[in-house]
Symmetry: C4
Subunit: 234 residues, 4 copies
């Protein structure tokens, strides 16, 4: 049974480089078995090319290793906290995907700027508070999880309706009913961040139009009875 969980989590981790969400060894995916009270997670710092299903580490909800020879992801306490805080989530993804990180570094929520966003996230994807010096120097990864929960609790956001967050100065976490659903949400979060960036930075200050006679020339060079582009003349 745990072999199946390891295989599932292995495949979900491998979906990160396949979808261009990771550089080098960055990023990790986990999935929980609520009945057994354990979750499976990527080992820390292992190259995706070298990763094997049997490398996946099984930990309990306090983040202690139950099965596996490798150290679990250093972000394991964040995953464990979120599984404890939100009983409905089944899988978690953390990446440093480029466009979501740009917003995280700016300390900005990803705005619900279009229907692509609305199809997956029912509102802005929030940015967690910056951690204080004490939170960073203390149980950093646990406090990262708490900072995520805090923004959802304070602003009454349903984590199943907005299954993702930006940790401030850091990067995105997403979740879902299982690991692959969380990967799906990580893919969407990065692409809607990219779309929002370009929408936010569009600048209409300059008129960029070609003159009408050039529009005529190029359009009718290719279309209509006087076209002379290509092999088939009309």
């Amino acid at each position: 049974m745990l072999e199946e969980l390891k295989q599932t989590v292995y495949e979900a981790n491998m979906a990160l480089p396949a979808n261009n969400l990771v550089t080098l060894t960055w990023g990790n995916v986990s999935q929980i078995d609520r009945d057994k009270g354990v979750f499976a997670i990527k080992p820390s710092g292992v190259d995706y090319n070298a990763l094997k299903p049997e490398d996946i580490v099984i930990v309990d909800l306090d983040g202690h290793v139950v099965e596996g020879n490798l150290n679990p992801s250093s972000d394991t306490p964040t995953h464990a906290f979120l599984y404890r805080h939100w009983p409905d989530i089944g899988g978690i993804v953390h990446t440093h995907s480029k466009w979501a990180v740009a917003f995280a570094q700016a300390g900005m929520a990803v705005p619900a700027a279009g229907t692509t966003h609305a199809d997956t996230f029912y509102g802005d994807v929030p940015v967690a508070d910056k951690l204080t010096k004490e939170e960073v120097e203390g149980a950093y990864e646990l406090n990262t999880g708490k900072s995520i929960a805090r923004v959802f609790d304070r602003d009454h956001i349903d984590p199943m309706a907005i299954p993702g967050v930006l940790t401030n100065d850091h990067g995105p976490f997403t979740w879902g009913e299982n690991a692959m659903a969380a990967v799906h949400n990580a893919i969407v979060l990065d692409v809607v961040s990219e779309m929002a960036y370009h929408t936010m930075t569009l600048d209409t200050a300059t008129d960029v139009h070609v003159p009408q006679y050039l529009l005529d020339k190029h359009y009718f060079r290719k279309h209509g009875k006087n076209a002379y582009y290509g092999q088939v003349q009309s």
Copy 2:
């Protein structure tokens, strides 16, 4: 005959991921058989990797399924309306391609900023009006089609000369004489959106030139009688 239509529409749908126009299951292509009064369209929410020609759904011009075991695209009423409204179009594509979406989310037409644009689109690619609350809460996909027709009718735009539009806050629709021509126009719309974005955001406020002596050094390190880069010395 319908098998051939399904095969054609299957291939046109598969051209979307092949040209980097879609993420996940997003996007759909249809083609009409005007004699039979039916069109073929991608099934809703099916992964491109799993899509087969026999999955393509045949619907009539009211959008009712005539043949097929799967639900047609949820955007089927938009396609059906456009086929009814414009008797000359033979194929329709809807995508969430990134650069066109950036303009759609900004509520901006894609300006005819160069000859690349003019080769395909005879003028700005317009943005449809935002739908009202009533239009969204009512027959949303039908009203999306109506919002497209409205901007073309109101502004006297020939849909065969400008075979594409941005639905406001949403994304691009393109069309053509058949499905593959509509895919072609979807490819062009995204790349001219990308080019226009960069033209619109170029900023000459800062002088970025290297000093002349550095220009001299690097150019003549590689060119002319004193070059010393590479294996063949002159």
Copy 3:
């Protein structure tokens, strides 16, 4: 002998999609045989996937077809003019590569913003004058060639030292001692355009630094005697 020229020009044309410089059928490469007074060029509107060496068209310096069953590129008169005007050039490339087009559409030269530029182009890559209505409605492609020559002649630019130009509102032409050298210059022009765009648009208005305690945490989580990321602990 002409078979060898066709093969060379075929390979140079195929290098355009291989280097991500073209969309669809856009772009064309030619190479001249000065002794025979002819040049070989891509046929008009042919898909790169379908292009074969025997499709390459041989034309004379007036642009008349000497050998070949297909129409030559619609840009043939531009190539022919440049070969007549500049006796030292041996190959010419025209593309609609995205970053160079962004500058062409803005009517801006690509500034010599760094040594990457200086390694290939001995100064700004100039932008040709906008064509007048008469020039566009007349012998358009010939006049495009003349607009290129005009900026080089007027500003005393050596076309062998700056082997490229932006045609206004349109896109880049590059050249070189042969077709493949011209392709090389097309590759460089697009990448230095991309680099220049980002240099020109960098904005330091906002302080984006992380606090020192977060820098400490993340750096020392991975480095030094207290590191706990990865599998090998020091």
Copy 4:
């Protein structure tokens, strides 16, 4: 033994195109054998597709060729100086990777804008001083190395804690305990430059939010009991 060093340096050089850090022949990697007082480096101007392990050149710490039939990289004097100046570094990489070059051309340090940066670089990646006319016209590549050392010495930066720099108007150098570690740092430097660029240019001036009723429509078209997107209805 030197064959092993050549093989290592060959593989590290090939990792540059594999990670999209180079265009054409640009970039070079070296690794030193401190005991023998020699280092291995890429030959100048050789195409990566044609590069073979036996092409790698062995030079001494003055940059004189000890073994090999090809000219070493024209940047060899920069590598040699850095190996002499910093006895702890074992490998050096120089690239013209696009995002790092954008900052180098702007004469800006890459700011420590997030934890992705902090995981590898303990502070801003500095930009070296512009070389003077005399430095450029003299021993240019040696002076490039000196300009790197100068900024680290003057600002008391530990080169092992910040294993990279931007040479002004030029591009990045990175280093590490060996060649592959230096390649790793080159990959990270480019991606954190890309992330920082987007963070620095995010613009919140415009409200890009969709109206609530459109958010409702799209979210609930796909989620919950009234969803009608896809094949499985709840």
